[in-house]
């Protein structure tokens, strides 16, 4: 492992192996139900696949983190407790949790199980982080994507747990775990169901002026003939305000903070994280390899920025941003 841990996504056992073979230090994944925040058809692990994958990863020197990071459904929280129990039973290296009730179960039933706080918990202050550390023994916090690098450095001086920062992939514009736009439009959301802007609500129609993408019937963007149509994620749509049309919340871009690896390491961040469990093994192999090379270059005293363009064609809308890590984003 280099000076900063590389954490990669796996939506399947094959993707997990691809990530590790491409240089991931750790891989995170979820069980095949609504206890994780990428609850998509055909994705994720059965308990048996998880057990096999944990064994395989450990044999190859990698760690497995199980995401149990949605909020348990009222009256049905058994499923979330079972996911925690499954993680502990298979020897997973940590669970990534957001819900207070699920944290309490993990702490009580499996006192030795390492707890990471999911980005969905939106813990962005030293006080919130200290609360989770004191109350539940959380060892690592995945940082909300609303903080700049300077703010992360300041935060690190006031906390005693490890942090993990997203550096690549889909970019939430809202504070994660604090957004209900998707359920307002479609009835399903990250916090309730582990999905955002769900595929079953998406339609594309040819209309005068081009292709229109819709979510639950709401027109979110229009594409000129010949232009590639993007996925209608709510916060990346074009909206009308005061008669003016704009990407009010965020352009259709994705996060790439590779150029900030050294700054994040200097700030004291323990691990960097790639988003995209839904994007398959070819994606993770390329992204993991590029970040492995960048981290290794950085550790050898070179500038890792030269690896950044390698991934440009994978970005949503073909465009990348360093997001909130640069303060001008706000």
């Amino acid at each position: 492992m280099g000076s900063i841990e590389l954490v990669c996504p796996a939506g399947s056992p094959a993707m997990l192996r691809a990530a590790v073979e491409a240089g991931a230090d750790s891989v995170y994944c979820g069980l095949r139900d609504d206890t994780n925040a990428r609850n998509f058809p055909g994705l994720n692990f059965s308990p048996a696949e998880l057990a096999d994958s944990v064994r395989w990863a450990h044999d190859h020197g990698a760690r497995v983190l199980l995401a149990v990071n949605t909020f348990a459904r009222a009256g049905a929280s058994d499923r979330w407790r079972h996911s925690i129990d499954a993680a502990a039973g298979t020897g997973a290296d940590a669970v990534i949790v957001a819900d207070l009730g699920v944290l309490a179960h993990a702490r009580e039933a499996w006192p030795d199980l390492r707890l990471h706080l999911s980005v969905q918990a939106a813990a962005g202050t030293p006080e919130a982080i200290a609360f989770y550390a004191r109350a539940y023994g959380v060892k690592r916090v995945v940082l909300p994507r609303v903080l700049s690098v300077d703010e992360i450095a300041a935060l690190m001086r006031e906390i005693e747990v490890e942090t993990e920062a997203f550096v690549y992939g889909g970019l939430c514009v809202m504070a994660e775990g604090r957004c209900a736009l998707s359920s307002y439009a479609t009835g399903r959301s990250p916090n309730l169901d582990g999905v955002c802007s769900p595929p079953e609500a998406v339609t594309y129609t040819e209309e005068e002026g081009g292709m229109v993408s819709r979510l639950a019937g709401l027109a979110l963007d229009r594409y000129a003939p010949g232009d590639p149509a993007g996925y209608p994620t709510l916060c990346k749509g074009r909206f009308v305000v005061d008669g003016a049309l704009s990407y009010l919340f965020e352009d259709p871009v994705s996060l790439n903070a590779m150029s900030l690896l050294a700054a994040l390491r200097r700030a004291g961040v323990t691990a960097v994280k790639i988003e995209g469990r839904q994007r398959g093994k070819a994606y993770v192999a390329r992204v993991a390899a590029a970040f492995r090379a960048a981290i290794d270059a950085m550790d050898a005293g070179e500038d890792p920025a030269r690896f950044e363009p390698l991934l440009a064609d994978l970005a949503e809308g073909g465009r990348q941003t360093a997001g909130a890590y640069r303060k001008t984003w706000r």
Binding site: S77, D99, G101, R178, A180, L218, L245, R330
Partner: protein
Amino acid sequence: MSEPIQLTLGPLLFNWAPERIRDFYGRIADEAPVERVHLGEVVCGKRAPLLDNAFADAAERVKAAGKQVVWSTLGLPGLRRDRKAIAALSADQESLIEINDVSALLDRTGPFVAGPLLNVYNEAAARELMGRGCVRLCANVELSLAAVSAIAAGCPELEIELFAFGRLPLALSGRCYHARHHGLHKDNCQFICDRDLDGLDLQTLDGKDFLAVNGVQTLSHGVQLADIPPADLRAAGVTALRLSPHTADMVAVAQAFRAFADERIDGAELAARAGAARPPGPFVGGYLRGVAGLQPAGLQ
């Protein structure tokens, strides 16, 4: 005879001028049939220094009228000043406060209300908070009445409040959309959100009303109306209804909800009276039925 369902005026979400705040709460104090009034800035810590005095005056008026004042914390603290403000509220262990971010839980031992901006989605999470002093939960707006009912069943000692009137608080962000819309940087925003007293309306590409922007917050364009029969509310464990301040005639809205909760008028009459108070959008109520939040009210 069961206890009457109480009415709560939620915290003001918008950047109103100090004079408007004083006038508004003066009238609420004198005329609105609500048991308690939440005060304080919950959306943007930058606004707070401009409004602190007005809120303090409002608190005096409300208390003098025999209503309870509950101070609410910020929902997404970032600046050191935000954190100090939360710590100061939280340190007063004698007074009931509303907590809208986990930051405030750190040293809290006194009683508190879990606000709708906290992520409490189930009875186990609610019980965790009760163990730390939570006496009332204003349910997260995404929750259905069935989910609220399951939480209440698992936490019989907990008072349960429902977000019953107003634009739904849907999202918070590190980015200020008012500033972005006006081509300003968040750090030099000129407090431009003060132009839109109920939020800045946003339409889809084909002109459908959808959302409203309020600085770093995104609200629904539609106005929540919990027109669920009081017997069903009681059966679900609901003990209070929250009305969220707007430029609408909030005294008339509170009077309509009082009459509805006392079963003097039905849901249709509630909608008619609340509609006559000039809310900023059509009534929605999908969340409580477990469907998309923007689905219309009136289908109970």
